[in-house]
Symmetry: C2
Subunit: 331 residues, 2 copies
């Protein structure tokens, strides 16, 4: 059997309450007994049972990270950020995804909260709806959403509009005027914001926004890029540059297909992606893209949620992080 407070207490000739206070560094314990207890605890190789402690303190000391799908490089990178923060975090990370489950994000959250499984939640999702986020807000367990802006809940996100605007600015400065924009219909709010940034840039440069320069793709994979290439060429042969808020993988598909069709990049076609995934550096020509500070987002998220859990922060907090355009060869 595992050694418990009682075991230590017996050997030390005190009560388990006293041992508990020693273990937790509470005041009002004499130096003598404190030392004796600690010595015995070490001898017996004592570890507190966190479950029992959790029941008594009504804390689980763990935070849940809810993601729609772990098979997203963005999500994984944010997760890495969460795990690699410099701060010494006394919380365990429990990982939940909702793909293939019969619960959506908010239902899952509600259950976790009521089951007292977790003290706080980080939701990494750009597609979650406002109504769902309201459920998060209404639960008594603190939560925070990463990857989309939200008025009613703490959030960490990037300035998508500015990122898209910068990217488009860059293409315009390179002399392009017919700039296609490839968006994903699976990205939720950020898609809209990035499209707004694209429009903003055009408008700043007195260029007209043309609805039929906007192309939509179904997912953010490489095949979407391959597929959308023909659509762009057919519908808009005059296009000389493509901005791809749908993501780097789509941009890479586009580049690959363009090269196959004997277009030179960036001379005939300039391409700018969004996110800056590892493959962006690998593709040839390497991909100019808008980098999202994913590690930093995770870092902020974990720090904010811990502050919230421990009552150091109240009220709704937001952290908007800047994007950065990474110039490579494709534009």
């Amino acid at each position: 059997m595992a050694v418990t407070l009682k075991d230590i207490a017996e050997r030390a000739g005190v009560t388990s309450a006293t041992v508990s206070m020693v273990i937790n560094n509470k005041p009002n314990i004499s130096d003598a007994t404190r030392k004796k207890v600690l010595k015995i605890a070490k001898e017996l190789n004592y570890y507190p049972n966190v479950i029992a402690r959790g029941l008594a303190t009504r804390k689980s000391n763990s935070i849940g990270v809810i993601v729609p799908n772990l098979a997203s490089s963005f999500v994984v990178r944010v997760l890495q950020g969460i795990k690699s923060t410099n701060r010494d975090i006394d919380y365990t990370v429990q990982l939940f995804d909702t793909v293939g489950q019969n619960e959506n994000e908010s239902q899952l959250f509600q259950r976790l909260a009521r089951e007292r499984r977790i003290d706080g939640v980080i939701l990494i999702s750009s597609t979650v709806t406002d109504e769902e986020l309201n459920i998060f807000r209404d639960e008594s367990v603190p939560s925070i959403v990463v990857a989309r802006k939200c008025d009613s809940l703490d959030s960490v996100y990037v300035n998508n509009e500015m990122g898209a605007c910068d990217a488009t600015d860059y293409l315009i400065e390179k002399g392009h005027t017919q700039i296609a924009c490839v968006i994903s219909n699976k990205l939720g709010l950020p898609t809209k914001e990035r499209l707004d940034g694209y429009k903003q840039s055009l408008s700043n440069h007195n260029l007209p926004f043309q609805e039929d320069l906007v192309f939509e793709v179904e997912d953010d994979g490489i095949t979407s890029g391959v597929e959308v290439f023909s659509r762009i060429r057919e519908r808009q042969p005059a296009v000389s540059a493509v901005f791809v808020p749908a993501g780097d993988m789509v941009a890479i598909g586009l580049i690959k297909e363009a090269k196959k069709r004997e277009l030179r990049i960036p001379q005939d076609w300039a391409v700018v992606g969004f996110d800056d995934i590892p493959a962006a550096e690998v593709v040839e020509p390497s991909l100019t893209t808008v980098r999202q500070p994913k590690l930093e987002m995770g870092d902020y998220a974990i720090n904010m949620i811990v502050d919230k859990i421990e009552g150091r922060e109240s009220g709704i907090k937001h952290k908007e992080l800047p994007t950065k355009i990474i110039i490579r060869e494709s534009a």
Copy 2:
């Protein structure tokens, strides 16, 4: 306050013990009370407090996944496999990494086990030593190691030797006789196994093994590949093919640098990687490589550990998965 068993019991006019038995689907409860209790539980939106339950049952219903570093695509992919198994897993996944902590994998495991935090552990690491694995074996909490073979502990791994042998066979069949081998000194046992496979293939084809065709790199990043290129060219100008057990990123670096130095791939130099990461498909020419079934490994691991926890399996089990050579353009 949250609703408890007692709340339900009061309204139902029974004892909380009875409610508990209903909730847990125990026998010896009349249909009438069962129905009544369930109805009230639903009305009150009852969720059992998993911490309290855990204390009583001495189970946490969660399994720990320990990884040395989450910033590894291999690890992440296995993790995805763990999370996406078809089986309905009643365990929560808690994620731990040891990079930047002052505990190594086995110390962490020992603590988690003693603190009763987890019912079982999946360790994803190829570099863990035999001595460390012995600590895992000696603890009473079931555990399993993914990514390396181990006699003393359940394990899930690929047949590295066969994978490397296949890759080398392939190069030899293409007519290559001077085949360099680039290994990582950060991969532990698999490095040795892959090197053995390489030797085996040479031997099978009556080619001599030459020690100085083996090159070592410090990490598995793209820069290692760039760096090792010159070493190979200097020391072994006659090399016409490179097998890179050190991993795809190294192989990609090698390709990029080779192209920069005006070598044609695969005509002048053939390159074969190991692992099959997403970027392998993106690089130009695309990378021929040995695929490791990472999702499947995760799948097996979670199933094995759950069986072990629930006592359906005993004794040491191993699962060896085959690799598969993915032919692309680089060889």
